[in-house]
Symmetry: D2
Subunit: 336 residues, 4 copies
């Protein structure tokens, strides 16, 4: 961390500042310029608060050299992490497709879709039991009953299940869930992050629609700091000025995250675009850019889907996409 002090900063206050860093076990490197004094801090600055330092009267500006996350940081853990979900591997060359409906609706629907996506080659089953909806008047999901239907679909097919948690108090209901999803609106719901950090179960952490990649990694750090290092990052489109699609898929997040962290990175092309015909090209782009998986919405009757039908593939369309996914992952040297 480099601290630039103000011209004519009060000497006594500067000395106090230096003392406070030394007390934290940091070493200082001082550089006196004609107008400015620089302090370089050497040691573990992870727990220093840039803003607090920047607020001091004598400080002109602060620049972090190393990122404020530790456990998620690639430089501390150069080998890519493989998250293992009931034998399905994600990361470090292993690619998985997570598929299923936006929301769990009926037993028949779940079992039918589960069998269909399994037949096409999906490795995990998704489905929302607790649904975050913009309007209180929209379908809110089947809740606990939805989780049970997911487990029945798992029993019928053997596919591990991925589903979203919306409240810390629901955690006990998720005991048999295989991957707990944190949705985009909860990426900075820190109480929820802390809670899922206490369990020993993979967490699929979706990027907030207006959060930077560093913020995403800090949220992963919340979970990891709690002891749960099985975090899968998911880019699902960010909010921009463009209006022709629901969100803008930040494909560059894949190589950028992979340069910063050892955690697996997957893409959700369905929520990114919000439109069915874009799911295939965005899936291909994700594989080509180095993603470790994709998460695709599939519904056996998209027109009657209780949410997000506009972006759901039919099982037939999904089967077509999966044929290309298999060839393309192979071409790019990934194992499915």
């Amino acid at each position: 961390m480099i601290i630039v002090l103000k011209k004519n900063a009060d000497e006594k206050k500067v000395e106090e500042l230096k003392e406070s860093f030394l007390e934290k076990g940091l070493k200082l490197h001082i550089s006196q310029g004609m107008n400015t004094l620089l302090i370089g801090l050497i040691g573990d600055t992870t727990e220093l608060d840039e803003e607090q330092i920047g607020a001091m009267e004598v400080v002109e500006s602060v620049k972090r050299i190393r990122e404020p996350y530790k456990k998620a940081n690639k430089s501390m853990h150069p080998q890519d992490t493989i998250v293992d979900v009931c034998g399905r591997k994600i990361g470090s060359g292993n690619f998985q497709v997570i598929a299923g409906p936006c929301s769990v609706e009926t037993k028949e629907q779940m079992i039918e879709v589960a069998q269909d996506v399994q037949a096409s080659g999906a490795g995990l089953l998704r489905g929302g039991a607790f649904k975050p909806r913009t309007s209180p008047y929209s379908f809110q999901g089947l809740g606990k009953n939805g989780l049970e239907l997911l487990l029945e679909a798992k029993k019928a097919t053997g596919l591990p299940i991925v589903t979203e948690i919306m409240s810390p108090s629901h955690l006990e209901l998720f005991e048999e869930v295989d991957v707990i999803q944190i949705g985009t609106r909860n990426m900075q719901n820190f109480e929820l992050l802390k809670e899922v950090g206490t369990v020993n179960k993979p967490v699929l952490l979706k990027r907030g629609m207006a959060n930077t990649l560093d913020e995403l990694l800090m949220s992963a750090e919340y979970i990891m700091a709690g002891g749960n290092e099985n975090v899968i990052l998911c880019e699902r489109g960010i909010r921009t000025f463009e209006t022709s699609m629901r969100n803008t898929l930040d494909i560059s997040a894949i190589p950028m995250l992979k340069s910063k962290t050892h955690l697996p990175v997957i893409i959700d092309p369905s929520h990114a675009a919000g439109i069915r015909f874009m799911v295939e090209p965005l899936t291909m782009a994700a594989i080509a850019a180095g993603a470790d998986g994709v998460m695709i919405e599939v519904h056996n009757n998209p027109e009657k889907a209780l949410c997000d039908g506009k972006q759901s593939l039919t099982p037939e369309m999904f089967d077509d996409v999966m044929k290309k996914v298999k060839k393309t992952t192979e071409f790019f040297g990934k194992v499915m």
Copy 2:
């Protein structure tokens, strides 16, 4: 709601669609053009899901004519709401200043700041006990103890207190809190919104940093649909490409929200700018644009503040700002 059907849409499916609307008690107005068929829906369309309709095979596009919120809607409730907090009125010509530190730190700090801001004319006291922080390694607030210190400051001064809730399970701890704040990162934490909808206590709802005004109103609707109609909306800066300040204050949100809803609208200039010197001009702008209040960070020792010191005013600076606030609200015909 107007539904534009696709050219050559399957007639049977169109008939089914029409039936489904009639079953919901809506009336239809059909307009057959040369290429397109339009269906206008008449009645209460609040609970219809635009996306679900848009997903249907025969549908080209959907356009809502009326907003999907009811209780927050000005057209259903033309008179502006006044939220009353222990006798302090907010809304419909009544202006309040909420002031205090970003986070509660010590008893001395809280009582000192509370007395200072009261002396300068603040009507409510703010302070964070549970703090949402980007990094798990930053100060997370004093929690329950922080709430107790706030209550002691209330006892010492009589100022009602405003503080943030971060988890539904904390609600019982907030029994003596006067205004419950929902922070920007939790604006779409729907479980939390539902929970605060069940109590009979004013809620200060901050706009998410990348949420539209309609989404803010839908989140207010969540609280109101639960039975709690005492919602105060707060614009606190949105995320844009501009990097010279922390966020971009959306001053236009004030007149736009006031055209859409009867709820009071306040501004948080401290978090919007993130820089001390901008608090005063943004406060003046907020009053001039018609806000019903402002929320200002004040710390007795900003350099040692455990969070957000860069934007906190000292009590002396706050006193200066308050002198101008009093004159300016009077000039614009507001009652403080």
Copy 3:
């Protein structure tokens, strides 16, 4: 176009409005609801101004059904356009790589880089002679001399050249240039668009960094309306809140543009990311998503590049990327 009239709109004014549409040769379809009157306009509404209609006292809102561009519109021209540059084909299955330095610096540099990128398989040579720079104190390009050096490089290699125009008055200098580039900051420099619409030479039109895809197509329409239908669209990253890379590549622009227009679409991964290591994965993603080409910065000495060295590949790195480009375009069924 559908026009929703206000409740209780003045009947005389409504009649005048209807008349005005009839006079323009449009047919009307009227739908009277309980509260609202809808007017559907049938015919060529391209030249109608939504905002002007929306401003009328009797009008509640206006919705366009068909896009306001004609010549660029896929529905009017379903077959994909192939732009031919000296025999190099772009579009409809034909893929091209445009490579070269950000700015033209010396004769030796240009010829060396041109020979290098040709040897690696690039089809066109890029290089900036007139450079748009944020600061008036940064290197502004060699101007006319730069164009001459480009032509010498073309002579030495046979590679057609692509270079940016910054002012309508420079057009005559571009007579021997093969593809005229309109840069991101000039996407809505309408006088410049009109000017390049008058020549019979391919135009590479870069998307403005905060322009929607529909605005990009309207700018293409400016050029095409002037008679020049050889337009190549280029997505080069948009401006968002993310700070870890220079811009956010909107990979979804490829399938979305291809659904709207018959014009070829290429990607500039170098400017999108602004960082060398991301050029390869973004290039792969572009091919996978269906792009018709990429534009890559290559410099024989990136550290001494007079602009944008941070994102330039060395000829060796470019050669590596090209080996993958050849295999990947073949895998995805494109002809290079």
Copy 4:
């Protein structure tokens, strides 16, 4: 400027880098840390290119301490600039209202509107002769004839005129224009900026809809570097994700720009909001936040306006707003 070198950077290359700075007349301050070497540059770094330095192999990152603009910089010119337009003063406590139609349509319209806005107290007359329109099929302005109508309106009223230039080659037509406007889409049309830098006439420079404040100041610097220091900055709304209004007015731009530059700053509430009813509250906010003027669209028949009628005030509405502007500027200590 502070340069952070990479760990284990090649020593010879570091020496070459240091040499290159010394050759430019800069002094170096070196700080050797445990892992990192810092170089602080002392002297005029305005002409150094951060990106070029950042691209060097041995460089980890670069941080500018001082802004890269000189003539526009407040620290070099602490006294606020007053731009004088035919005796109307803008800046340093002097407030002006610029009013008139979006586009010049007929002689009658211009003279009528000019007389109306003058009677209400406007100090300058605006009107577009050359119009930047998204669609080539929209009304493009009357061009040269429009300029003549503006001059007739000036003759009739004495109001100085403000109008937009769209091409460097039009400059000679603007000889009798009092203030040349650079529109939002041309803020980084550097050839145009250079051209208006050569004349001795006030320039009203609008912020690009996705440009940072530092980029706006760099564009002002282009004009000033050419010798024309009469630049008026104009904030007119930026592009964000919010869809309920046309643009998001960045009110914070006023205090932030005033901390960075001595140039006057005005606001265009009409284009920011794009909706009539928001013009008054945004104008009040602009005055309260410290603006030096506002620019308001007024049309004698907004429903028939050939562009942007939705946001134009009628002369009666404008008269109402002006009554409040007079009282409010007086309250805030500005001279009109």
